[in-house]
């Protein structure tokens, strides 16, 4: 469903969440995440993902309740923390997103 390069980049971030909470590495993670959504959108809906919210709407409107879809829905729910720009410190939220939601998605994808 997703390319090996995307999977391995996300895996690196999940294994070292502290480094990916801020700065250039956070930006790298954002780009990789957008690439992940794009790949998922092409695979599931035959079109690129141009907007995260619209992709989420499409996913939520599907009736598929397989473990992979449930993990995608949960991941999309929490994705905002990765892109937040306000004054607050988002490190904890990003760490939770990586080690919980994104990790669960990759594991569900592997059928674990």
């Amino acid at each position: 469903m997703i390319s090996e390069s995307t999977r391995s980049r996300l895996r690196v971030a999940i294994d070292d969440p502290d480094s990916y909470c801020s700065g250039a590495k956070r930006k790298q993670l954002q780009v990789t995440y957008d690439k992940l959504l794009d790949e998922l959108s092409i695979k599931l809906f035959n079109e690129p993902c141009t907007n995260r919210m619209m992709f989420r709407q499409k996913i939520n409107s599907t009736s598929n309740n397989s473990p992979v879809f449930i993990s995608i829905k949960n991941m999309l729910r929490k994705q905002d923390s990765l892109f937040s720009k306000d004054y607050r410190d988002h490190s904890d939220e990003i760490k939770t997103f990586l080690t919980n939601d994104l990790d669960h998605f990759l594991k569900a994808l592997n059928g674990e």
Partner: protein, 150 residues
């Protein structure tokens, strides 16, 4: 039921936004009063040839900083509440089956804490603390250099 929940979320979001805006405006008023007073006091001290008065500007700086930081910390809490509602609204827009709601909706906030005061000194908030820092040390330097009208 869902429509009703959406209305409640929207109304709560508007209330939080208004409260956060009000706190922000009050904080800016406090700030402008201090800087006008400080500038006037520095000018008066320079003309009066009594450099000790420069230190009054630093003392006032501390007082006004404490007051403004209190408003900022209250504003931060309302912004947090507002963001929690934004998550709910985003869930509604995304057609989520079970939109997330905050534990409760209310305008009560915690008393500003020392920990939240420390957070105001983050680099991200330099616009908040840098002017106060300058206006705290500048009068001290002017006093030590004994700057006055000759």
């Amino acid at each position: 039921m869902s429509e009703k929940n959406k209305d409640i979320a929207l109304k709560a979001w508007k209330v939080y936004q208004e409260l956060a805006k009000g706190m922000g405006e009050s904080a800016w008023q406090i700030r402008s009063i201090y800087f006008a007073t400080a500038a006037g006091l520095i000018a008066y001290t320079y003309n009066s040839s009594s450099p000790i008065l420069y230190l009054l500007v630093s003392i006032l700086c501390l007082l006004f900083f404490v007051i403004e930081s209190g408003y900022r910390r209250l504003q931060d809490q309302y912004i947090e509440k507002s963001m929690a509602i934004e998550r709910t609204l985003n869930d509604f827009i995304a057609n989520d089956e079970h939109p997330r709601f905050p534990q409760s909706i209310g305008t009560d906030v915690d008393t500003p804490s020392f920990k939240s005061l420390i957070k105001l000194f983050e680099l991200k908030r330099i616009i908040f603390w840098l002017p106060y820092l300058v206006f705290f040390f500048l009068p001290v330097v002017l006093f030590l250099l004994d700057v006055k009208k000759i």
